[in-house]
Symmetry: C2
Subunit: 309 residues, 2 copies
């Protein structure tokens, strides 16, 4: 890849160039630092929305509806469907991508599944970089959808400007959300499939749990039926309200600072993780043998590795 | 804590001492390396089983049944209920712990919820250390149950000797398991709640997906109704069969070597992540400001941090 040519075309909004840069992020190619350096000054214009929730909760359908709503306001939209648990972007989320095909021909919408094949920092580091590719290419609204609700998904969606947590009606779903650590990260709760029984109970459970938590602003709870497009305007308004609140309270910059500090720490950690493999491969193998044989404990072995770096 | 006293008592199987050491692992206390060094020579005797699956799949009930089955063979059992997404061990999984109370008075069963409050390497590093505490205390069978199916859960249960993936009947659950990257890590599939409709379809879907994958040994699929204790003997046999297979094929040591090598890499990465915060705190804050203002890109900022370490 002639990296700088591709960067130039991506900055002009060229779809193939954008796709190639996101693949570069996934693969963790050697040109990545150079490419990110070139893109970085062109970023900062986009607002990001994270969507998390259990598999099957309707996140993809909600994403598709949000794209439609955003396009009505002439936003240029980038979507990343992120699968932290798979090294394959194409296959895993193909179904979801197909479902979003209603926007596939819109030149101002770019939808892309993403996983990690080779990025040294894993998906938690790869995602903000892919967001920057979209941001630099002129997308001013970026939606990051994850497949599940594990730690990585929480980290990914927490690294957005507004985080949506999607639940379904039914006893226990709010309890499960609490278990999964979602109460702390949600800026807006979406109770999707709200034409089903149990919606009122789920909303009540959520409200009870939110009252027990001690966070600042109480997240809004929005009921939607994404398949029918119901509640999407209310959801859009709730996102806008959270955005305004953060802007007025000066919280958005603080949130972005925390995010950058965390990213820097993770780049450093990832760099050393790689250096262990590249620079001390023989020693790593030798020490692993010593630890497996219980002649040395893992901390002592790690100290020896650190001493050689 | 007089660490060495606690270690001594934990090695004798003292429950309070074991609990204190696991809390020390969670908190990432400064005595941790010393404690792990003392425990390490006493480890290596335990076999570990990981259980992952979507929230609500019945993992806790299965775990409880497996404890009962293991006790019938006079195994001494340790259970870690791991929540990678929460910093609080007590609250999040309290429900599950209460449900396992049928074994609470058995001196040869130790059940403990676990999260990460302060461990520098997060839950992925804390879990093997907690396993070693149980191992050193004389438990010869250790069950690690996770709350969900995200990346962290997959990493945690993949770090066991035998990994169980729990599904429920119902269209799409096998597909979701595939999406979540569970097909690659499962040594045994458990279709729990197998008295419900759709069991046969789920088993068929699983078989189809397993035929498409190119792994070595085809995982067994076991149907259970954990609430009624049905299928538990078959599950136990499937675990034993996988254990024997690995032993005979010489795969268990290879598996444990991979695990240790990964752990060493992660200890090194975590050490540098911490050093960024402790040794370069002012520089980190200054560089974060530069990056947020877009006067510097994250890679360049990370290089500056690395140069000072």
């Amino acid at each position: 890849m002639e990296a700088q040519q591709t960067v130039k075309r991506a900055l002009e909004g060229d779809r193939r160039a954008i796709a190639r840069l996101i693949s570069l992020v996934e693969d963790g190619g050697s040109e990545l630092p150079e490419v990110m350096k070139s893109l970085y000054p062109h970023t900062g214009g986009a607002y990001s929305i994270g969507i998390t929730g259990a598999p099957g909760a309707g996140k993809s359908t909600l994403t598709e509806r949000l794209i439609g709503r955003a396009r009505a306001d002439e936003h240029k939209v980038g979507v990343l469907a992120v699968d932290p648990s798979s090294p394959f972007s194409g296959g895993a989320l193909l179904g979801d991508r197909v479902r979003m095909q209603s926007h596939a021909t819109d030149p101002d919408v770019f939808i892309r599944s993403m996983a990690t094949r080779g990025h040294l920092g894993g998906i938690s580091l790869a995602t903000p970089e892919a967001v920057r590719v979209l941001d630099a290419s002129g997308k001013d609204l970026i939606v990051i959808e994850t497949v599940g609700v594990g730690q990585a998904e929480v980290e990914i969606t927490d690294a957005c400007d507004t985080t949506l947590v999607v639940l379904n009606p039914g006893w226990g779903d709010a309890v499960q959300a609490n278990k999964a650590g979602l109460m702390e990260i949600a800026d807006v709760f979406v109770v999707n499939k709200a034409d089903r029984q149990g919606t009122r109970d789920t909303v009540r459970e959520l409200n009870q749990m939110l009252e027990m938590s001690e966070s600042g602003r109480k997240p809004e709870i929005v009921e939607t039926v994404a398949t029918k497009g119901e509640g999407i305007d209310a959801l859009w308004d709730a996102i806008e309200a959270h955005r305004s609140y953060q802007n007025e309270a000066g919280l958005l910059e603080a949130r972005r600072r925390r995010r950058i500090a965390r990213e820097l720490r993770e780049i450093v950690a990832a760099r050393f993780r790689t250096r262990v493999e590249t620079e001390t491969a023989d020693l790593l193998e030798e020490l692993t043998g010593e630890v497996v044989a219980r002649r040395m404990d893992p901390y002592a072995a790690a100290e020896k590795l650190i001493a050689t770096l």
